[in-house]
């Protein structure tokens, strides 16, 4: 957990960050969102002490960063800067190996780690390890930038518009990729952007800043549904069209009123008529669900393996709706990456979400 406690940064008589208090939860992506010049980068750089605040305190897991050696602090935090900032005189391997080599890892270990990370960011190590940054496309550089930040396995990642300077299609695929990565890695990420679409898509939590102050911080969904004031409302305005369905993550909108049991348990207990929603899970597979006494399973119960279609929690609402419409079912079961059932989604639910958001 990172706590910013009434942090202020003044340059002369200009106040860039003004008594900002913010708690950034562990293992989730927190977005700092706001118009250009509102103090996002300054805030981020105060966390790794590239900038010293005029006033206030910042604590990581309860320890003030001002009690730590700034060099050690920075080596323990992954940092992706605006415009990537790869070192042009180092190969990709050299770039990824910067922090590990500062930490005195031996060469073999650095090389293995670099290879591992390249695979993680979907670049073939045999092709890319020896390349120089200037031999990479913009999107590849951004991936290497992310890999470099992850090199020494930091728990905290600070990312300053990491996908900023890149075309929309590539940006979207990098965002998808980063979400998948985060599903496995579960780092504490502070992610700066002024792109509301990116914020809604990636953020578990969003903190909105204006003129150096915090305007609102909440989990993404709550923020979208209950903007604190006209400023937030206007900022979010850009997302309020049906097209933005593809920004909203299914996991944030599921109906969590359900019980899980095996088909056999259901038959034995005879609760199917009363329970509002039972999801049938036999072994690892979802066999179907029972809603108000009505059993919905896969088409052919005789089929050896009965696999009910499910939607990943990271999928967008658009994907969820598409799955629902294609299968013709009323509900889709939304699953986390490890197979846990997060809840269900239905077309009317999505319509309702859109109606709320599109007020």
């Amino acid at each position: 957990m990172i706590e910013l406690d009434s942090v202020t940064k003044r340059y002369g008589d200009k106040t860039s960050v003004d008594r900002l208090s913010l708690t950034i939860p562990d293992n989730a992506i927190t977005i700092l969102l706001g118009p250009s010049g509102c103090g996002k980068t300054t805030t981020l750089k105060m966390i790794n002490r590239l900038i010293e605040p005029t006033d206030g305190d910042i604590r990581i897991d309860g320890h003030s960063v001002y009690g730590m050696d700034p060099i050690d602090l920075r080596r323990s935090i992954g940092y992706v800067i605006q415009e990537v900032g790869l070192f042009p005189h180092f190969t990709v391997e050299g770039n990824i190996g910067v922090v590990p080599s500062l930490l005195d890892w031996d060469r073999g270990r650095i090389r293995r780690r670099a290879g591992e990370l390249l695979e993680l960011v979907n670049l073939d190590p045999s092709v890319y390890l020896r390349r120089y940054p200037r031999e990479l496309s913009g999107g590849e550089r951004q991936r290497v930038g992310v890999a470099r930040a992850l090199a020494a396995d930091p728990r905290v990642l600070l990312m300053d518009e990491p996908f900023g300077a890149i075309d929309p299609i590539n940006r979207r695929s990098l965002q998808d990729f980063f979400l998948r990565l985060q599903t496995d890695l579960k780092r504490t990420v502070v992610f700066v952007t002024h792109d509301i679409g990116e914020a809604v898509k990636l953020g578990d939590h969003i903190a909105i800043m204006r003129d150096g102050r915090l305007v609102q911080m909440d989990v993404t969904r709550a923020l979208l549904e209950h903007p604190a004031d006209a400023f937030v409302e206007e900022l979010l305005g850009a997302t309020r069209s049906t097209e933005q369905l593809l920004l909203y993550r299914a996991a944030h909108y599921v109906d969590t009123a359900f019980t899980v049991m095996t088909t056999e348990e259901m038959h034995r207990s005879g609760v199917e008529a009363e329970a509002p929603l039972i999801i049938l899970k036999d072994g690892d597979d979802i066999s179907g669900y029972v809603e108000k006494g009505l059993l919905v399973t896969c088409e052919d119960p005789q089929e050896a393996v009965c696999r009910f279609e499910t939607v990943s929690g990271n999928a967008t609402l658009l994907e969820a709706v598409t799955t629902l419409l294609e299968s013709g079912r009323k509900r889709a079961v939304v699953q986390g990456p490890d197979g846990t059932i997060l809840g269900t989604l239905s077309v009317p639910m999505v319509a309702e979400i859109m109606a709320k958001v599109a007020r």
């Binding site: 590239l50 060099i71 920075r74 080596r75 940092y79 070192f87 005189h89 922090v99 500062l102 200037r134």
Partner: protein
């Protein structure tokens, strides 16, 4: 006699002059490099950037001062002998090195420097691992200029009694021996070319290939 016959017949004496010449240049270049690098690094620190920019202006202009003038001036203070020559050459060689070092270091993008700091490099590590490698191309260019200038200027050092290949040329001049003048000139030119080729070779291994790729 032509120049080659002269060289063949007087080889022992000529080789001693070559050694003197190389010695003067070697010591002077080493001194210039140490001083130029050190000063260049100091004046390119963020707090001294104003000084750095002034230095770039001064050294840029100073390159127009004729090398003979520096030798003549040093002669006034330290008199006859190789010491005068070496000091003059060192001072003269500092100029292009300092110019290139400070301008290249000041040109290292601030965001690259900040990325390095943000990843937990100490100031010394930022300098050694990032700034100097990024400036290496330009530093090598300054060094090559200094070497070329010193090799040719060391010839003039003969007039302050420093020895070297200038002796052959100036004696040839006074006794009107074109073969001697030609021999001395050829040797000075060859040393200049060979040392530059050698430095070009070193440059290739010192400067990262990543920097020569067009971006």
């Amino acid at each position: 006699m032509n120049a080659f016959q002269y060289l063949g017949r007087n080889w022992p004496g000529v080789s001693a002059k070559i050694a003197q010449h190389l010695g003067m240049v070697g010591v002077a270049v080493a001194a210039s490099l140490v001083v130029g690098l050190a000063l260049g690094i100091v004046v390119s620190r963020p707090r001294l950037q104003k000084v750095g920019r002034a230095i770039i202006g001064i050294t840029g202009a100073a390159q127009a001062v004729p090398s003979v003038a520096v030798i003549a001036l040093m002669f006034v203070y330290t008199g006859i002998g190789p010491r005068t020559a070496v000091i003059a050459l060192s001072i003269y060689g500092v100029v292009p090195i300092l110019f290139n070092v400070s301008s290249a270091l000041l040109l290292v993008p601030a965001d690259i420097r900040e990325a390095a700091r943000g990843m937990g490099m100490t100031p010394l590590q930022v300098l050694v691992r990032v700034e100097l490698p990024l400036a290496s191309q330009s530093i090598m260019a300054g060094l090559r200029t200094a070497v070329t200038i010193d090799v040719s200027t060391a010839t003039v050092a003969s007039v302050v009694g420093a020895g070297g290949l200038g002796d052959i040329i100036f004696i040839g001049l006074s006794v009107v021996r074109p073969d001697m003048i030609m021999a001395g000139t050829l040797l000075v030119a060859s040393i200049a070319i060979l040392s530059d080729v050698l430095l070009a070779f070193i440059q290739r291994s010192v400067v990262s290939r990543g920097l020569s790729i067009p971006s």
